[in-house]
């Protein structure tokens, strides 16, 4: 059976059956009207939506939640990342690796390894960067606790490492 679009006279190519309060409703729309109504699926998925779906998925997966995962460098939890959509520090990529992989897979067409440009400079030492990140976090804590002596020592250490 051929349907005409509910909204205009073109042939309907999108057929939708909705069940609302036990009542069956059928919709038949042409390509244009379906797109206008937002029914046609769009492959362009923004990060917020990806995250939302991801949250739903892990909620469905029971209480073995990854939300409690926390980065031991910056203190960001995975729940916080899901809520805000941005990570706290470079170390989060390692700290949340298992939880991030499925998300990366969906956002990046299944890719999980960089094959592009690499910094020319050999100085980009991740261990050292993480050490500085940790010292900075400690420094923040020391300032908050008004332990200025410790803060000064930490600041010197950060400077020394950054310049070295």
């Amino acid at each position: 059976m051929k349907f005409k679009c509910d909204k205009c006279d073109k042939p309907a190519t999108v057929h939708l059956t909705e069940i609302v309060n036990g009542q069956k409703h059928e919709k038949h729309l042409c390509e244009d009207c379906a797109a206008q109504e937002g029914i046609t699926i769009k492959a362009n998925v923004p990060i917020s939506q990806l995250l939302e779906e991801f949250v739903l998925q892990s909620a469905e997966g029971g209480e073995s939640d990854v939300g409690d995962l926390a980065c031991d460098v910056c203190g960001t939890t995975f729940a916080e990342f899901r809520h805000r959509g941005v990570l706290g520090c470079p170390n989060d990529y390692d700290a949340f690796e298992q939880a991030l992989l499925p998300l990366l897979g969906r956002a990046q067409e299944g890719a999980a390894r960089h094959i592009g440009k690499v910094p020319r400079r050999a100085g980009s030492d991740q261990k050292k960067q993480n050490l500085i990140l940790r010292l900075r976090a400690e420094l923040k804590g020391a300032v908050a606790a008004e332990d200025y002596e410790k803060a000064a020592a930490l600041r010197d250490k950060v400077k020394e490492l950054e310049n070295g």
């Binding site: 592009g116 440009k117 980009s124």
Partner: protein
């Protein structure tokens, strides 16, 4: 060079025409980079954000990226100036509206802009008129090298350049083109083309990038995948799969219109020009709509006494912040509509 000087003309990248400019208005390459030994921006307190801003500002200057660059302290700029930078595509809306210490370094010709403390510590972009994406990517890579020699980027053996949001991780590269597709819209084929683009995992946005509606006849199309492909692959795929097809569809749709509906097309195009030359008040959306049709008329050689350069400039200079800067005062919507109409008449040499 100051912001005030920007208001009376379009950036060089927009005033020249560039290859395939009948459909492709401009090409853009963007890189996201972060410093490795500080947290991502949202986890830095204000003192550290300020420290990062000062440092990046200094290093960008020292890197000699372009002959003459100017730096705008976006946090200290007034609302109108921030809006002006958004209208000129030099900063994002998010960057304009944020609250923390931040800035932007811009080259004299406005083809290069480096946002400091946006979502990532550095967001750099290179703009070119027409379809010149490879050139834009080569230039941004050169700038990246200059900065990298002075900064310790966050780079991961497996995930590449690390970004605050995992959707940018890897190359941190987004390439995009701004397309003018009036004929596809008129013939009703647009949605099909855009859907095909989305199926190729390309993002479609409006004139001002993320968060703006793809409305009117202008569309920004960009890659979404940044990981697992090299920079060259990203550009190749983008230029081979999508762009030539869309250009071809749009051009065919234009020729179809000329063949089948020439009078109707002329009527639309010349009515638009007449309105622009006569109206005493003009809203910004109406301006966009009419200018789009006039642009089509010029590209199809129906209108011969208006240049693409003039139209491109009108798109830019009739926006709210530009009008207010030109008149050096704040104006409400009605005053702007009058000023806009007057400005357009003057540029189109109407009485």
């Amino acid at each position: 060079m100051s912001l005030a000087e920007l208001t009376t003309r379009a950036g060089e990248w927009l005033s020249s025409e560039g290859p395939l400019h009948d459909v492709v208005i401009s090409s853009r390459a963007r890189l996201a980079r972060n410093l490795g030994s500080v947290p991502f921006l949202s986890k830095c307190g204000e003192p550290l954000q300020r420290e990062i801003e000062t440092r990046l500002r200094r290093e960008i200057r020292a890197a000699n990226i372009a002959e003459r660059m100017f730096y705008v302290d976006v946090a200290g700029a007034g609302e109108l100036d921030r809006q002006l930078l958004v209208e000129r595509h030099l900063i994002s809306r998010q960057h304009a509206d944020a609250q923390h210490p931040r800035g932007v370094a811009v080259s004299q010709d406005e083809s290069v802009a480096l946002m400091v403390n946006e979502e990532d510590h550095v967001r750099m972009q290179v703009l070119r008129s027409g379809l010149r994406l490879r050139e834009a990517v080569a230039e941004i890579s050169r700038i990246d090298d200059l900065l990298e020699a002075r900064l310790d980027y966050a780079f991961h053996g497996r995930y590449g350049y690390l970004t605050a949001c995992p959707t940018n991780v890897g190359t941190g590269l987004r390439v995009s083109v701004m397309l003018h597709l009036p004929a596809l819209k008129m013939t009703g084929e647009l949605e099909k083309v855009l859907r095909a683009a989305r199926d190729m995992r390309l993002a479609i946005r409006g004139l001002y990038g993320e968060g703006t509606e793809a409305s009117g006849d202008f569309f920004q199309v960009s890659n979404q995948t940044t990981l697992g492909r090299s920079e060259e692959q990203i550009v190749d795929e983008f230029l081979e799969q999508m762009v030539p097809k869309v250009i071809d569809y749009e051009r065919r749709a234009r020729q179809g219109l000329l063949k089948q509906r020439a009078t109707g097309l002329d009527d639309k195009v010349f009515r638009s020009l007449a309105l622009l030359r006569s109206a005493r008040t003009m809203g910004s959306e109406e301006t966009m709509y009419l200018l789009s049709l006039v642009r089509l008329g010029v590209n199809l050689e129906r209108i011969r006494d208006v240049s693409i350069k003039t139209i491109n400039e009108l798109f830019l200079l009739t926006q709210p912040a530009h009008l207010q800067r030109i008149h050096r005062r704040e104006m409400d919507g009605r005053e702007r509509a009058e000023a806009r109409a007057a400005f357009i008449r003057q540029r189109l040499h109407a009485p």
